[in-house]
């Protein structure tokens, strides 16, 4: 079961970063590969158990379920319900921690999933680079946080 772990430091205070990330339905506003997103059944995006249905720029439709949301730990977890990409049993965890030295933010993003045999490396790279590292760069730009802190 491939495991992808990526982490970075964002040059903004943690409250600012968490405010953006805690909105499970906000990713179409800052992640370049997401074109639109909606929470099903009119629920709010901070209701644990809610499902976001979104489209990538290439038209693919995905659905993800919010498993955990914690303002105390500044962390959330979610799993993939439907996706045209063969990622099975995909569960991801995001957590932030303050970097007190400089009032910055440490961002940790990881996931485990199954893939068709032989495609582990390709899909792990897709997740790690396009989704996670792409996400770091996108949020950094969205917050006006310059280059890697």
């Amino acid at each position: 079961m491939p495991k992808v772990v990526k982490s970075t430091v964002i040059d903004r205070p943690i409250a600012e970063v968490w405010e953006v990330l805690r909105d499970f339905n906000g990713h179409d506003r800052w992640h370049p590969i997401v074109s639109d997103s909606v929470i099903e059944r009119g629920q709010t995006s901070d209701r644990v158990g809610c499902v976001r249905r979104f489209h990538l720029k290439d038209g693919s439709e995905l659905r993800e379920l919010l498993l955990t949301l914690s303002d105390a730990d500044m962390a959330y977890s979610y799993c993939l319900l439907e996706t045209p990409i063969p990622l099975f049993n995909y569960v991801a965890h995001v957590r932030l921690a303050p970097v007190t030295d400089g009032d910055r933010t440490f961002w940790h993003w990881e996931s485990r999933f199954d893939t068709p045999s032989g495609r582990e490396r390709e899909l792990a790279d897709l997740v790690g680079r396009e989704v996670y590292e792409g996400g770091f760069a996108a949020l950094r730009a969205h917050l006006g946080a310059g280059s890697a802190a």
Binding site: T8, V9, V99, G102, A148
Partner: protein, 145 residues
Amino acid sequence: MPRVYVSSVIDAPAARVWERIRDFNALPRWHPRIRDSRIENGEPADRVGCVRDFHLQNGDRIRERLLGLSDYDMFCTYSILESPMPITDYVATLRLTPITDGDRTFAEWTAEFECDAAVAADLVAGIGQNVFQAGFDALKRQLAA
């Protein structure tokens, strides 16, 4: 219960930083406030339960017990057995986490303890700045890429 939390980024791979700090008896080698140290009863410094007996540069003596150590999760947890500070039940953890972006290290140092409410703020500030941040500043200098 007063709590100290100090964190920083060290510009070196986590494995290298861990190598430097994992030795429970090596504070004098990397922390500018510590003058000398020894492990009691000649035990290995990575034997969980061992006690380090050390002196600060100003002569103050402190004894601390190793409660936990992980080469996998890169953390070390210890408690203070004796110190000149007006505190009890002091437990601290020093933990490293890799920052994959740039192959650097996120370092966190936390402590919880009991003390009189009147001295809590000063102790938190003092430990946070003079022990924890001073330690991180030293590591940054010593390991700068």
